[in-house]
Amino acid sequence: MGKYTIRRLLTAIPTILVISFIIFAVVDLSPSDPTGNLPLTIPPEVRQKIREALGADDPFAVKYVKWLNQFFIAEPLNFIETTLGITFPGSEDRVRVISWATRGPVIDIIAERLPQTLWVVGSSYFLGVMIAVPVGVYSAYRQYSIFDQVGTFAMMVGFSVPTFFTGLMFIVIFSVNLKWFPSVYDTTLVVTDIESLQQQLRQMFMPVTVLTLYTTAQMSRYTRASTLDNLQQDYIRTARSKGLTERTVVMRHAVRNSLIPVVTLIALQIPGIFAGALITEQIFRVNGIGQYLIIAIQGGDLPTVQTVTFIFAVLVVFFNIVADVLYGILDPRVTYS
């Protein structure tokens, strides 16, 4: 397994390089100008200097190699320096990925915004899985029961209704009419006491619920299908005929096996849920990474767009490997050679 993991991680390197090239090349086609939204009073010579300083006029190959150097060498070194408090030689001259809009390092802004995204996405994903697994299992165990029929219908609805519609309807119901929850996420809020904690929970309620509903629908459909598959297997009949209690048959035999594909799906869906958060963050104005990407796209801030999109791509590749490795660990029938 260790060997397989290492091999997968090594073969991911060329994939990631190809993807980084594609993303960089596509974004670089954009006619965006870093001086585009500066005041018109700035003379052309100064604009030219700004462009040169930001490297906007370099040939494509130079820009790409510079960006690779900034992202894969300068940023990690800087991260090590700030976390360990040591200084490498030449740290003064090191250039990081600089945003055209804020003229600051892109990674710092991402680091500032990451906690909001992780809180909203993480808690809704966790909640979604926690609800989906028992619902899916029970629904499969009592196939064709009222619970199953209502459940599968609800799952299909939750899976089909887009989050931007549920989100807006939540605002109409809970913010506009009932006035229970704020519709805009206040990021300056610092949790210090019970009251601010309550406020934090209240503002998290709507974005988290919207994402949870979607995750639950998706995951429980999958759990149900996988459990149904396992309940029809011969080993379940064997377990029953051995005289094991129904509880043991379902919980120890069926569920444990059914959850193997579910666990891999949980890993596979993590990058997807980040992309889904892009929309949820936009609805509730959560200033997370997704919102940052949209601002950057609208403002033509190419280094930011390249970096954030690339980070999303790395997440996809990484969690694909995690899913495959997990599958190998959990299911002894799967052998990678």
């Binding site: 994939t15 190809v18 993807i19 594609i22 993303i23 596509v26 974004v27 086609l29 954009s30 006619p31 219908f153 299909m156 609805v157 899976f159 089909s160 209704v161 887009p162 931007f164 519609f165 807006l168 309807m169 605002i171 109409v172 913010s175 506009v176 519709s183 990058p271 992309a275 889904g276 892009l278 929309i279 936009q282 609805i283 990407l293 949209i294 796209i297 609208q298 033509g300 767009v305 954030v308 999109t309 999303f312 791509a313 997440l315 996809v316 590749v317 694909n320």
Partner: protein
């Protein structure tokens, strides 16, 4: 056995013949059992008909501005309410539905065609398999939504210049959505081709001297059609969602061109004043996607003989 055969032929009555069973007939019999899928077909038909012939019946001009009637939630003249300029939401939703549905179907055609061709090629020609599947892997690893947003931002202006505002965005939307959603189909088709390819009838076809092209089109393709049809159905749903998501993020069609997603985007700023502005377009998107998904579910059961009960 022989006795019955001998007794019967004397009075040959066509009405007594057992109806010949076809694959499509069997599939329909099975599909009819899926009640929700049947309801979904009916609801979807209503939506499609409404969108196609609705504007002929509901004759209010979707672009007619009537400031005095602005921000209505619902009234006899405007049952679905009006927007900030007093334009009728029902008329706009009907007009926008045409575009949303067209995009769903066109993007599906693009993604299914690319996916089927790549799947057939990589499943059938061993030499192409590895490079094509590596390419598919890379496409799968691309972050969909961010890349869609980036592509929309990049190519909007040049295409607008070439095909006009609406035409340009339409072509861009269809090719971008279709071009980023063919990967599951390609994998699915490849898998099916691999299993069909090893059957005897393919060996027989090769033995009679059929060329690759003929084997692919008349022997393999019909045998992989069922999963492709199911995938096509689901891909309409996801294309409609993607279009409305892009429009919702402000990177879709221009403001005067109401698609369902664009109507949601425009309506979200007036939630405190009138909720019908987002409710109806959102309901239409949700109902359409829900129906398409149910139909896909029904088709999957109906087209796979192994799943028939």
């Amino acid at each position: 056995m022989t006795a019955t055969v001998k007794a019967k032929p004397k009075n040959l009555d066509p009405a007594e013949f057992v109806q010949a069973r076809t694959f499509a007939g069997d599939a329909w019999l099975q599909f009819r059992k899926h009640k929700l899928a049947l309801i979904a077909v009916a609801v979807l038909l209503i939506i499609v008909l409404g969108v196609l012939i609705g504007p002929a019946i509901w004759t209010i001009d979707p672009t007619y501005i009537d400031i005095i009637a602005a921000y209505q939630i619902s009234s006899p003249e405007h049952p679905w309410g009006t927007d900030s300029l007093g334009r009728d939401t029902l008329a706009r939703a009907l007009q926008g539905g045409r575009v949303s549905l067209m995009i769903g179907i066109s993007a599906m055609l693009v993604s299914i065609s690319i996916g089927t061709i790549i799947g057939l090629a990589s499943g059938y020609f061993r030499r192409l398999d590895n490079p094509l599947m590596r390419m598919t892997d890379i496409f799968i690893a691309l972050p969909q939504l961010p890349l869609l947003l980036v592509l929309m931002m990049l190519f909007r202006e040049p295409l607008k210049a070439a095909f006009g505002v609406e035409g340009g965005v339409f072509i861009l939307m269809v090719s971008v959505i279709g071009g980023l959603q063919w990967m599951p189909t390609a994998r699915l088709v490849r898998g099916e081709v691999l299993s069909v390819k090893s059957r005897e009838f393919i060996t027989a076809a090769t033995a009679v001297g059929s060329r690759d092209g003929r084997i692919l089109t008349s022997h393999i393709l019909p045998n992989v059609m069922s999963p492709v049809i199911v995938a096509a159905t689901f891909s309409i749903a996801s294309a409609i969602i993607t279009e409305s998501a892009l429009s919702f993020l402000g990177l879709g069609f221009p403001p005067d061109f109401p698609t369902w997603g664009r109507l949601l985007f425009d309506g979200k700023d007036y939630l405190t004043i009138t909720w019908t502005l987002v409710f109806w377009p959102g309901m239409l998107i949700s109902m359409t996607v829900l129906c398409v998904n149910f139909i896909g579910d029904g088709l999957r059961d109906a087209l796979d003989p192994r799943l028939r009960k």
